[in-house]
């Protein structure tokens, strides 16, 4: 994919690639709490039938997945596993955060053991609100993700100039000042440089 990295791919071909990618997405299900029931309804029941959208919920491992749905309460003990799961997924990879707990802690905003939002450890592309969200709300999140992928500049994504994860301070600034677009990536290679996450008394190995 050298051409893609250099951004030399012709625009119509990029559009074709994006179209193909958006309608063939293997999703890894990461159900952690009650949201997983709704995720199961959306992904496995004939009533909602997510395979109509080209989303295939059957990868054998994260290494075969295009995006992951983090649904439920992310505890500090689960955080290293999620980090590893994300790092195992091949690029380009996407994350849907489902439910209030995964979005920013939700009812456990004051808990000693719950990570206050999965976006503290991995970048999230789509936030689905709800507690838990209806299965259709998750489908809407999937449709939103597909729209984003269809209009994506692949070269920019491969250079790491896509959507950057927000730090907690940035998030607070945004909450207090209204929406501010995240700054362009100043560190090449995707994830910005940041301190290691300390979970349970030590950095993640």
């Amino acid at each position: 994919m050298g051409l893609v990295e250099k951004g030399k791919l012709p625009a119509p071909l990029t559009k074709l690639f994006n179209l193909g990618r958006s309608y063939s997405m293997w999703v890894y299900q990461w159900g952690l709490a009650c949201c997983a029931i709704e995720m199961g309804a959306a992904f496995a029941s004939p009533r909602y039938d997510v395979m109509r959208l080209g989303v295939i919920p059957l990868p054998a491992s994260p290494r075969q997945a295009d995006f992951v749905v983090i649904s439920g309460t992310v505890t500090d003990k689960m955080a290293p596993a999620i980090k590893r799961l994300y790092e195992q997924m091949p690029e380009p990879k996407y994350v849907i955060s489902m439910g209030s707990c995964a979005n920013c802690g939700g009812p456990y905003w004051d808990s000693y053991s719950v990570t206050k939002g999965v976006d503290q450890i991995i970048p999230v592309d789509v936030y689905v609100p709800g507690c838990p969200p209806r299965p259709e709300a998750l489908l809407e999140g999937v449709v939103l993700l597909q729209q984003r992928i269809k209009s994506e500049d692949m070269a920019a994504k491969w250079r790491g100039e896509g959507a950057q994860p927000m730090s907690r301070n940035e998030r607070h600034e945004e909450l207090s000042q209204g929406h501010v677009p995240p700054p362009a990536g100043d560190t090449p290679g995707g994830m910005p440089q940041r301190d290691p996450i300390v979970v349970g008394g030590g950095p993640i190995e």
Partner: protein, 164 residues
């Protein structure tokens, strides 16, 4: 007692599959074709909370009773003309800011129940996913727009206690 002839399990299973197939062919599949056709949620579904700004007096009851502290209210006092001629001007609260953080909300509905002025309503809308978490903080304009999606309250059942 004569033994009933046993239907082989294979035929039984094929029969179930055949019945399902016939049902699907005649009545259609149960699948809701989501982006094109949408299922109507129940009328009391807890989708999103709408704000009727004119009713709100910034009394802060909802913000104080919220288990997640996800409602942000700021207001100031204003002088309103007196109700009757010759009276003294009334002091009323005006809201400057009414935000609900739907990334944090746990959809318990305590704010809707506790509101003494009927300013908060449940709406069954659910399609408001966002790419930026800051966009999930709905301000009073956005919350006011949700008012358009609030359904009419269903009729009370016979013998139900009237509201006080």
């Amino acid at each position: 007692m004569p033994m009933k002839p046993k239907v082989p399990g294979l035929l039984k299973g094929l029969g179930v599959t055949f019945n399902t197939m016939m049902r699907t062919i005649t009545k259609g599949a149960d699948t809701v074709q989501y982006p094109h056709a949408k299922e109507t949620p129940p009328i009391r579904a807890r989708g999103v909370i709408a704000l009727h700004e004119g009713n709100c007096t910034a009394c802060m009851l909802c913000a104080r009773s919220c288990p997640d502290w996800c409602i942000y209210i700021e207001g100031h006092k204003e002088l309103a003309p007196p109700r009757r001629a010759g009276g003294k001007p009334r002091s009323v609260n005006a809201i400057d800011r009414f935000d609900i953080d739907y990334a944090l909300c746990m959809y318990c509905g305590i704010c809707v129940d506790v509101c003494p002025f009927d300013a908060l309503f449940w709406s069954p809308e659910y399609e408001y996913s966002e790419s930026h978490i800051a966009d999930l903080l709905h301000d009073k304009t956005k919350l006011g727009e949700w008012m358009l999606t609030v359904p009419e309250a269903p009729e009370l059942e016979a013998g139900a206690q009237k509201g006080k």
